[in-house]
């Protein structure tokens, strides 16, 4: 079986995917900071203040981001223009939630393990009492 996937080589995978992750983050930041309908060349121009990237690299990253649903693209002549699918604030808020919305909460709870999940906050007095119990027993 052939493994053409760049992430296959175990020696390379960490650095490779990390670099790619950094790049995706940088490109998303450009889309967030510089408004809608950015062309590949515009994004490349913004990024190349700090790094030297090929046109095709930026195009590939933008393509990956739109496949992941993080960016939306619109055809403009022979090229595409890209817009962030949601604002940074919206996406951050969505990443914070354990997801009380559409999906079955049971599945959500198994998808991500919250340190303290799905519970009503306890009364502070009850907590103090329980904390005192911890300190008393773990001497």
């Amino acid at each position: 079986m052939l493994h053409s996937d760049a992430t296959y080589d175990p020696g390379m995978s960490t650095t490779r995917s990390r670099d790619l992750g950094d790049l995706e983050r940088a490109v998303m930041t450009v889309l967030w900071d510089h408004g809608p309908d950015q062309s590949v060349r515009e994004v490349m121009h913004e990024l190349n203040d700090s790094r030297n990237l090929a046109y095709t690299t930026v195009m590939t990253v933008l393509d990956r981001l739109s496949k992941k649903g993080l960016a939306q693209r619109r055809r403009d002549g022979r090229a595409f223009r890209y817009t962030a699918a949601s604002t940074r604030e919206e996406l951050t808020a969505a990443s914070m939630r354990s997801g009380l919305e559409t999906l079955d909460t049971g599945d959500r709870r198994a998808a991500m393990l919250h340190f303290l999940g799905q519970s009503d906050p306890a009364e502070l007095a009850d907590l103090r009492e329980a904390l005192a119990e911890v300190e008393r027993r773990h001497r």
Binding site: L65, A111, L113, H114, Q118, E135
Partner: protein
């Protein structure tokens, strides 16, 4: 062939799938030995599924010469149950992986990576912390969580999350979720699923307190109390912070006798349907 073992097997299947989850979830003493208790829950689940799958064909085995139709119907019933289980496994499995991948993609473009710990930090004021299990796993903290916790508490919280990831607690949870969805809706026991979640948290707490001590972990629980919005609370999951603090307090006491008792219960539950099936043939 004897009818009695078959009858016992049918009763056992019903007991393990319908009665046991409802009888076991209020038993808070199980929580004092979370590792043993999780094993007991797993054996009850596996055993119940096995008993349910084999009891109908075994019941019709003796009369298969005279009533071939009944035998086929019984086998078809088992086949349908197995198909339902496999379908549930497929649905839950792909659903979870899709959710985790989407969530990880989001986190990866948003979060900064903390140089020291390698965790992803989201720029948000309210405290939250979770891990995304899987091959490309992530531990995610919010800026609010880092501000709410001191250094030792952060270490305890990270030890808790790393225990989840290292011990693959997600697989145990996935298993319970698959079986839960395979059971017809009126027979499902939500409190049982919530209880297994709590046991898994208690188990990760045990690992964290062995590594970082009880007080930092307890401090982290107090600081993070109320960090998830209320509303999705399930029975048994309310005031989880208080329950877990009391379990951390109790972890100072060794309970080998109780653990041994729960382990033997787990073993017995696994052996029972096998013994009955063998005897009935």
């Amino acid at each position: 062939m004897d009818a009695l073992p078959v009858l016992a097997l049918v009763l056992l299947a019903l007991t393990l799938t319908v009665v046991a989850p409802r009888a076991m979830s209020p038993q808070t003493s199980f929580r004092l030995c979370p590792g043993a208790a999780l094993l007991a829950w797993q054996s009850v689940t596996v055993s119940g599924v096995c008993a349910a799958l084999v009891s109908a064909p075994l019941a019709a085995w003796g009369i298969r010469q005279d009533h071939e139709g009944v035998w086929w119907a019984a086998t078809a019933l088992s086949g349908a149950m197995l198909a339902r289980l496999l379908l549930s496994g497929h649905r839950v499995g792909t659903g979870l992986r899709t959710l985790r991948r989407r969530h990880r993609d989001q986190v990866d473009v948003l979060a900064r990576i903390d140089e020291q710990t390698g965790v992803s930090v989201l720029d948000h004021a309210s405290p939250t912390a979770y891990c995304l299990p899987g091959r490309r796993r992530r531990i995610v903290l919010s800026r609010g969580a880092l501000e709410a916790l001191d250094e030792s508490e952060t270490a305890a919280l990270l030890a808790h999350e790393r225990a989840h990831l290292r011990a693959r607690h997600d697989i145990i949870l996935e298993f319970f979720t698959v079986v839960h969805h395979a059971v017809p809706r009126p027979l499902r026991c939500e409190t049982a699923l919530a209880e297994t979640h709590l046991l898994i948290e208690a188990l990760a707490d045990r690992a964290a307190l062995r590594r970082c001590g009880a007080r930092p972990l307890a401090g982290a629980l107090v600081a993070m109390n109320g960090s998830t919005p209320p509303g999705a609370t399930l029975a048994g999951g309310s005031d989880q912070a208080r329950v877990r603090l009391l379990l951390i307090a109790d972890a100072a006491t060794r309970r080998p006798g109780r653990a041994a008792l729960i382990y033997s219960f787990a073993l017995g539950v696994l052996a029972l349907p096998v013994a009955l099936a063998v005897v009935s043939l």
